[in-house]
Symmetry: C2
Subunit: 202 residues, 2 copies
Amino acid sequence: MSNGQTNSTELDPIRKDILHGARELFIHFGFKKTTMEDIAKKIGKSKSSLYYYFKTKEDIFEAMALEDMEQQHQNAVTSMNQYITVQDRFRSFVVSLLRHLIENNQQYSVFKAEVMENPFLIVNITEKRNAYMESFLKDLVLYGIRRGEIRELTHEEIDIWAKAINVSLKGIGSRLFLGNDQELFKDHLGFIADSLFTGITV
Amino acid sequence: MSNGQTNSTELDPIRKDILHGARELFIHFGFKKTTMEDIAKKIGKSKSSLYYYFKTKEDIFEAMALEDMEQQHQNAVTSMNQYITVQDRFRSFVVSLLRHLIENNQQYSVFKAEVMENPFLIVNITEKRNAYMESFLKDLVLYGIRRGEIRELTHEEIDIWAKAINVSLKGIGSRLFLGNDQELFKDHLGFIADSLFTGITV
DNA sequence: TATTCGACCAAAAAGATTAAATGGTCGAAA
DNA sequence: TTTCGACCATTTAATCTTTTTGGTCGAATA
């Protein structure tokens, strides 16, 4: 019944097992060095069985990464919903996202190199993430305009802003991920978010 | 007399020849596929002669890339100096940088893939560029504070802002470089720059 | 002294060939 | 509906050989 095309986290416990086992292996050994048999053995099933739940090895990877991403965004949104003003919401959302990056960056160390060498792995995920983030940011702007906190912008401007902020955050994120000045940034994530949102003018 | 360690563009015409010839070859065939003999032949010299001017092949590449970078920044600064207010200056600087990326992105097509596969090539250049950009942005902020356009910020905040904006611009830049929505961004570079600088609040 | 170059070398890359590992399929069985 | 062993085509790893290439050096040139 549950074939590979299920778009999001399925309730199916075996599917979850696979994803869970795969995650550990991927994180420790990377994508290439983790074989389908490794994953199968880890959950006490045969290799063929995996193909009942996922179409390809890449699909497993993608599903796993997507799960992470959704969890991350869920946290950020939850954190954000404590606040009312757009500025507070934006700050809280951004800080949650970036802080997660700093705190869990050790965990993905092997992972990094892997993904660098196999960029095709994350192209789908990246696209989904971009689409999600842009749509999210646009909604936030509309909310801000309705509240009178953000000035009237054309639809095109809103679109551009969402795209620009998305890639800006990605730039900041990768610096946090790869760079060695996390300590410096750590305590100023709120300032960064506010700067992007309200600028630094008087 | 002129050995490899000269830091910037030298007047030495032969050195310029080498750089010029190398640039064409690198752009057409990439770093790996361009051999020292190719470069030597191109300028009608022997391979050994190249080593009189440059210590290694990487050095040639770096010198070439550095030349490009300096030219680019020179243009941006020139463009910026037409204006007085920080906001105008910042906008003009950013627009000049990003527009160059859009307009000359065809030219670097083969180049892109090359650099992706040999990240070590640009690590030095990237560091220099980051240092330069951050220092430049910090100066601009100080100028803005002196003029009363930018609110008082701590030294740490200025530092953080410079770093954050630098990587943000890099994020925007790589989207312009790799993505396929250049047309959309093209006419809104000024808006993007202003958003980063003054925010989008009322 | 400043510059060029041919001869030379060690190291890396490119090919060729073979052996092993791996992703994925399929039909039968539970 | 779910699991699995047997099986296959394709990749990848390993090994060895040949070629190319980055880089050095001493002599020659001017």
